[in-house]
Amino acid sequence: MRPGSAYPKMHFLVADNPSSSSSSILAVSAPEAKELGLYVHVPFCTKRCGYCSFNTAPLTDGAMARYLEALHREIDLLGALAWAPGVRLATVFLGGGTPSLLAVDEMAAALDGIRAQFEVAPDAEITVECNPESVTREKLEGYRVAGVNRLSLGIQSLDDTILPRLGRLHDARGARSAFEAAREAGCVNLSVDLMYGLPGLDLAGWAGAVDAVLDWQPDHVSAYGLTLDAGSLWGAAGVEGIPAEQEQIDQYWRLAHAAAARGLEHYEISNYARPGCRSRHNQIYWRAAEYLAAGPGACGFVGGIRYANVRATPRYCETLAAGVLPIESSERLSSRQKLGERLILGLRTADGVPTSWLETRLDGDQRLRQRLDTWRAQALLAGTGDRIHLTEAGFLLSDALFVELL
């Protein structure tokens, strides 16, 4: 262990600090299910990408060590909750930021910390998001030994003129070698992230990237259409060269068709998987199931309560240094909200939702029922017996439906 990354092994355990009522929200709201997910947010990147509005900041000296110390405290505080011994983690997902900035020993310590406080299912899915330039075969091997069994590679593009414009630090070759390194390191559940609708990306360029990546035979592909988020650099300053809407739609379909031809299932709006390789962690979100949160700005859902951690990393660390869970906001969902969420999350997936959920929502809302008929008539929505789901064409327009369903 490098001296800079040392953290104390002994912690004060303060499960419930009466001076901070929000920190105790988890103490009074036990999960409904036995199996939970855990999302861990790593709030650092070497450099922020233009399109990104996530909670991340450049990694400065000593920041990683302070963060990891706080994270360990947080896991300990979570583990000390009265109900913690009764639950089991079915998935752990390290997202960011750039979690692959963690050295192997840091990753191992983090996962050890989690296992020390929680029962982790023997077959748990443990995912780490990686940026190509920050991984080597050795590192990924180290991750695997530490327990990581799924990797998600942030490739985004294979166009060497587009990649730097995005602010990415790798090139197409680097992407390819990262993928190979992951395979060589023994990763058998390997996902690739791509983006379409990018500035300067035309259909031919996209088709080339799609076909190349599919040739690598990833187990899972996530493909996100670019959205200009208010919190991103591009959202604030604007960006030139975004393809026209029809071009973006063509790009969506190009991938959908290619993925189908290769036997990948389009199982969620932005996700494709080999049979059996869907992301278990993300499915927790889409099923409105429960998950814990750790790390700055991370969000959790436990016992009918959605909550979020403090976003700013320094304050996150200070709060934990004071022995308090850094929960900044929480909201108990009404039954109507719960239903709304289940519908809009479930309908993101190809499996859709039980027809009975929709019926509950439609009860007495004649106007919405009529609108849904239009969706069906246009083959955007399809029902197979007791379940109802959006078609691939419906996915593209899904927000227009979700607004209605809330």
Binding site: Y224, G225, R306, A308, Q337, S398, L406
Partner: protein, 596 residues
């Protein structure tokens, strides 16, 4: 109280010349209002008045003033609105007064409503005290304004007081002038009660609060009073004055201005212009009465949510209690369902009513394009009033159509004359007369009312860099070549989007309208064709393309709440859409008919 110690006056002026600000200073100087506690334009007490910085309703307040002659005087001040929509408020206020302070902005000079209000005051035989305000402004031209007052108003401009209501300069002299120049009221406190109702509002606890000006007699609680026009009798509950809040007093007597309550249920039972007298000892002759404020524009009001129809009806009923100038009656629209056809004094009045309904009654409304009232002579020889385009008989049943005209005054610096004439021509105006007043001209035009109710004033202001002012008055009906312009969405006519337009302007108007609608109708799951048609002839067409893509790629890191909140906000926006057939049409689409 001796009549010679009473002065009753209104403050009148063109919009924004500083009436309410002067009222503030008068309240402060007389100690009616603690200046430290006072906000600006304290009499503008409605939320809407405060937000928009304008006076909508006349406000009455009593001041006690110790003059330089050592005597204490009771001054009854009525602050009035300057906007043309509310000029009827000015006339009723003047009916309660012996004098008027006529303010002229030293930088702007005499404007259209200065003149209009001057005529109202001099027709009512009031003593007019001219006041030149805003002398603190760098652009103030006090001497030029004096000359204008002399030449245009035929008052003695040299007698005008020069003040800054904002800074208080010269305001003490205004108080002295009120005492010295405005005559005290006349009347006999011992004669039978005779009081003029010049305003009234509904209060849910006390019933109608009636603003009265007594010419003879006295009134006190317990007295039985008679409303002479309808013969109803009531027992007086409370009498009082505004200072500026309602303050009960023992009695009001001849010459005084104040209020009374008498468990009167509806404002309509104690209308403006009503004469109140004693039941036991009625006065001989009632006041001549007062014409009702007549609505000039009509529009449909519909709740976006069909289930709110009843709530809308209740709200209209309540609102009308306090605003008799506005009228409503049920109507139905194929596109919008059940609603009400409402009459307003003008566009500002319409906006205010809509805003009050939405705010005070928490309703979401659609207002259809406003229309004036036409007179239609049918081939069967009947004359019918049409204030809703969709009610217009088919062309083969129409013998002749007449539209309302106004006479109007435009005051504008000479350099903008050409632009004004161009605008007038576009709006089918007919030139009547032209008078030069120094660097400015006073032009009189006749206009079809329909051409000026909507955006004329805004256009006038923008082409004259804000310098032109405008006033109008309904004059007569004239025959006109009018057609009904229909709008079709995916082939179906939308009655609420129809309008009546002059034949020569139909094409241009139809084109502008479909273009505007294309911009405001959001993309839907299917393509929407928007057409403008006269009868079966389509004269313009636009399409709203079908929605291509509307998707959130990622709910990052399980942050579902953020996504839900985003969608919830969008849903709020959608609440302001009305489904017409299969097409979702936003609220503003219905108003776009008028702005194109």
């Amino acid at each position: 109280m001796a009549l010679r110690r009473i002065r009753n006056f209104s403050i009148v002026a063109h919009i924004d010349h500083g009436k309410s600000t002067l009222a503030d200073r008068l309240l402060a100087l007389t100690g009616t209002m603690d200046p430290k506690k006072a906000v600006d334009q304290v009499l503008d007490s409605m939320d809407l008045e405060r937000e928009r910085g304008i006076t909508i309703k006349a406000h009455t307040v009593r001041l006690l003033y110790r003059a330089r002659d050592g005597q204490e005087y009771t001054l009854n001040l009525i602050d009035t609105p300057g906007h043309v929509d509310f000029s009827y408020e000015v006339s009723r206020a003047l009916a309660a007064c012996e004098g008027a302070i006529l303010i002229v902005d030293a930088a702007q000079g005499i404007e259209a409503q200065t003149l209009a209000n001057f005529y109202l005051a001099s027709d009512a035989n009031l003593t007019i005290v001219p006041v030149i305000n805003k002398i603190d402004l760098p652009a103030a031209d006090v001497e030029g304004t004096r000359t204008q007052i002399t030449e245009t108003l035929e008052l003695d401009g040299s007698e005008a007081l020069a003040i800054s209501a904002k800074h208080g300069t010269g305001v003490p002299e205004v108080l002295e002038a009120i005492v010295a120049r405005i005559p005290p009221p006349e009347g006999d406190p011992e004669a039978p009660l005779k009081a003029l109702v010049f305003d009234s509002f509904y209060d849910s606890y006390q019933g109608v609060v009636v603003h009265v000006r007594l010419t003879d007699g006295r009134v006190r609680p317990g007295m039985r009073i008679l409303l002479m026009s309808n013969g109803r009798s009531y027992e007086v509950q409370q009498v009082g004055v505004f200072s500026p809040d309602m303050r009960p007093v023992e009695e009001l007597s001849a010459g005084q201005v104040g209020y009374l309550t008498a468990s009167i249920k509806r404002v309509a039972d104690a209308k403006v212009g009503e004469t109140i007298t004693e039941t036991l000892r009625p006065t001989a002759a009632a006041f001549p009465g007062y014409r009702d404020a007549k609505p000039m524009v009509f529009a449909g009001l519909y709740s976006i949510d069909d289930t709110e129809y009843e709530a809308l009806r209740d709200a209209l009923e309540k609102l009308r209690l306090n605003d008799p100038a506005f009228t409503y009656e049920p109507e139905t629209s194929l596109a919008l369902g059940y609603g009400f056809r409402c009459g307003f004094l003008g566009m500002l009045h319409m906006e205010i009513v809509q805003e009050r309904l939405e705010r005070e009654f928490n309703l979401s409304l659609i207002v259809t394009a406003p229309s004036v009232q036409y007179k239609v002579l049918t081939t069967a020889g009947e004359v019918i009033d049409i204030d809703n385009p969709s009610k217009l008989p088919s062309p083969d049943r129409i013998e002749q159509m007449d539209e309302p005209y106004v006479t109007s005054s435009v005051f504008v610096p000479t350099e903008f004359m050409t632009a004004i004439y161009k605008l007038a021509q576009e709006k089918r105006g007919e030139h009547r007369s032209l008078e030069y007043h120094g660097k400015r001209v006073h032009i009189k035009f006749d206009f079809p009312l329909a051409e000026i109710v909507v955006d004329f004033y805004d256009r006038l202001k923008s082409i004259s860099k804000g310098y032109a002012s405008f006033d109008y008055e309904l004059s007569e009906f004239r025959p006109s070549d009018l057609v009904k312009l229909d709008i079709l969405l995916n082939g179906d006519p939308v009655d609420a989007l129809s309008s009546i337009v002059h034949r020569d302007k139909a094409y241009e108007k139809g084109k502008a309208l479909v273009e505007k609608l294309r911009k405001v109708i959001p993309r839907q799951l299917f393509e929407v064709a928007i057409q403008a048609a006269i009868g079966s002839r389509v004269i313009a067409r636009e399409t709203v393309k079908a929605m291509g893509k509307n998707v959130t790629a990622k709910c990052y890191g399980g942050d579902i709440t953020r996504k839900r909140k985003l969608l919830e906000r969008q849903k709020e926006g959608k609440k302001r859409m009305k489904q017409v057939g299969k097409v979702e049409v936003p609220q503003e689409a219905f108003l776009s008919v008028l702005k194109s």
